[in-house]
């Protein structure tokens, strides 16, 4: 079987999970035989999650436990490794979220399997997934998303062929089917978490989600101030129904929350349209947005690196240009 670890938040299955379902189906088809897809739901009060994902996979395993109310890397890795072992999973798919990329290495080591990180494509290289000599080929980005690399498992694994994290926003999300898969409760042997969380700051924007948004409007130092960000970036985002993003520099300066940061240490986005306002284009920022379909840059400095990867741009003054663009959009 192919095991998918369901990502969910606020009582709903995450889009990243439906993307993993697509990745799993493509992988299963590539094997030329029936490979069941199993979803594992971890959490507390997750019955609605299990019911929702049952419309996307062949079997749902549910661990609905108070101990799983909060994510912890040791709990999650222990649970996933146990289920993968008991179910003789051939491949384990985990979301490429911050948490997924944190606990997946532990799963790989527990299962003595290779780890393929943040993949953008995935295929099995022979006609059956269950044979020990099966090889999986994948692609992922390297060098701060400037290079696409192809990687392969070496084969001969006795356990799963690979543990894989799937980059969010790359695979098309699968649509739910009419058939409903059977659900089974599972028993888990869980360790005691050693990391004690003493406080949590949730940063959530009232706007559309940054990673899912079709249009992202982002601002950097060139917007001048926190007020400038509201006046130019948020105003344009609201006009376009877009999400807002920010550079590390202005998050560090306290102008914007970390949840809006785009780049190496923030979020990776690939919207249909990315508008960069007052952003010079440090390589760390570019790595988080350079896969966007159309990139627009507005910056005073004609030499700014952002213009090299822009489809459209204006070299000029942000405080003058943005109101003019807003006026034009409202025409």
């Amino acid at each position: 079987m192919i095991l998918i670890v369901v990502e969910h938040a606020n009582g709903k299955v995450g889009k990243s999970t439906w993307e993993m379902v697509t990745a799993a189906r493509e992988l299963a088809q590539g094997t030329g035989r029936e490979t069941p897809i199993t979803a594992l739901v971890l959490g507390s009060n997750v019955a609605p999650i299990a019911a929702e994902i049952a419309r996307g996979v062949d079997q749902v395993l549910v661990a609905d436990l108070p101990a799983l109310a909060q994510y912890d890397p040791e709990l999650w890795s222990a649970a996933v490794a146990q289920i993968a072992t008991e179910g003789e999973a051939s491949v384990v798919l985990i979301g490429g979220s911050r948490s997924g990329r944190e606990y997946s290495p532990r799963v790989a080591i527990k299962l003595d399997a290779p780890l393929l990180e943040d993949v953008i494509s995935l295929k099995a290289n022979s006609d059956t997934l269950s044979a020990g000599s099966q090889i999986i080929e994948a692609q992922h980005y390297t060098y701060l998303a400037r290079v696409t690399e192809t990687i392969e498992t070496i084969g001969g694994a006795t356990g799963p062929i690979a543990v894989v994290t799937i980059k969010p926003g790359v695979f098309n999300p699968a649509t739910p089917r009419a058939e409903v898969a059977e659900q089974f409760d599972v028993d888990l042997n869980l360790p005691t978490p050693r990391l004690h969380v003493t406080g949590k700051t949730v940063e959530r924007s009232s706007r559309v989600g940054l990673v899912e948004a079709e249009i992202v409007v982002s601002g950097g130092r060139g917007v001048g101030s926190a007020e400038g960000f509201t006046q130019y970036v948020e105003a344009l985002a609201d006009q376009l129904g877009a999400a807002v993003g920010a550079t590390r520099a202005i998050v560090d300066a306290g102008w914007r929350p970390y949840s809006e940061q785009v780049g190496q240490t923030g979020k990776t986005v690939q919207p249909k349209l990315y508008i960069a306002i007052g952003i010079s284009g440090a390589v760390q920022h570019l790595s988080g947005m350079n896969k966007s379909k159309t990139i627009v840059a507005i910056n005073r400095d004609a030499e700014a690196p952002i213009f090299k990867i822009a489809d459209y741009g204006i070299v000029g003054d942000v405080p003058q240009l943005i109101p003019a663009i807003l006026a034009e959009l409202k025409k």
Binding site: R98, V147, T198, Y312, V315, G316, E328, L329
Partner: protein, 252 residues
């Protein structure tokens, strides 16, 4: 106590990437200590300066040139360095085997490592090393304090951040914002030349790669590069909106 800081040598972020023979070619490019690892070195030095008695050891795995990055760590103030020399590219899961063995040999209780590698874009090394040692880990740490054997701090999670406490031993992955790494001063560079840099061979660690790296391609998405002059503000604004509406068709 003993602190290990894991050091990787990578392409300077400002340098262009070149590909030859299906792999990234680093010859003739400027290589530096991974900035994510610099935060780990700096944090180890700060923990010691806060009054904790600690020996700090920098560890690097890779070709002979990795010694340059280890020398930088020595010049920043770490006490000694271990270089496991190999030309084989190890994925994070394999590499964690080397790091875990060195941690055991050196009887370390704290390991610091960068949150993301600037070359392989991997997040896995810290957590993988923690798993091999049966230690807990904290990733993407942005604040850290050590009192006795208790770590407290703050780190980034899926939606926002968390504060935490944790008992040693532990693995901490570091990132921008944790601190401002110091520059090595000239006297410290001179002093560092006398510090121990031990060379070891990879053979004794019994590690083989479990992934094959078959090809690398530079991402070139051809961009239109239609850049307008914004001196005439209304004209530039109107032209841009027209292009987005009628040429790119990305807005209504």
């Amino acid at each position: 106590m003993r602190i290990l800081t894991f050091i990787r040598q990578v392409l300077d972020a400002e340098e262009s990437v070149h590909v030859a023979n299906n792999a990234v070619a680093l010859e003739n490019s400027k290589l530096v200590m991974d900035t994510m690892d610099e935060y780990g070195v700096e944090e180890a030095l700060r923990l010691r300066e806060s009054g904790i008695e600690a020996e700090i050891i920098a560890v690097g795995v890779g070709p002979a040139r990795v010694q340059d990055a280890l020398r930088t760590a020595l010049a920043m103030g770490v006490d000694r360095a271990i270089h496991v020399e190999t030309d084989i590219r190890l994925d994070a899961i394999s590499l964690s085997m080397v790091l875990a063995q060195i941690a055991r040999q050196e009887d370390a209780t704290l390991i610091l490592s960068g949150g993301q590698q600037a070359d392989w874009d991997s997040h896995a090394l810290g957590a993988a090393t923690a798993e091999r040692l049966y230690w807990p880990q904290v990733t993407w740490t942005s604040a850290l304090e050590l009192k006795g054997t208790t770590l407290t701090g703050k780190h980034d999670v899926d939606e926002g951040s968390e504060t935490f406490t944790l008992e040693l031993p532990a693995v901490i992955t570091t990132q921008q914002g944790l601190n401002e790494p110091r520059y090595p001063t000239l006297p410290n560079i001179m002093k560092s030349k006398k510090k121990e840099l031990r060379r070891e061979s990879l053979d004794q660690f019994n590690v083989t790669p479990i992934l094959k790296f078959t090809s690398a391609e530079i991402q070139v998405k051809n961009r239109l590069n239609k850049i307008l002059d914004g001196k005439d503000v209304p004209a530039a604004a109107s032209q841009l909106v027209d292009l987005l509406r009628n040429e790119a068709r990305v807005i209504a």
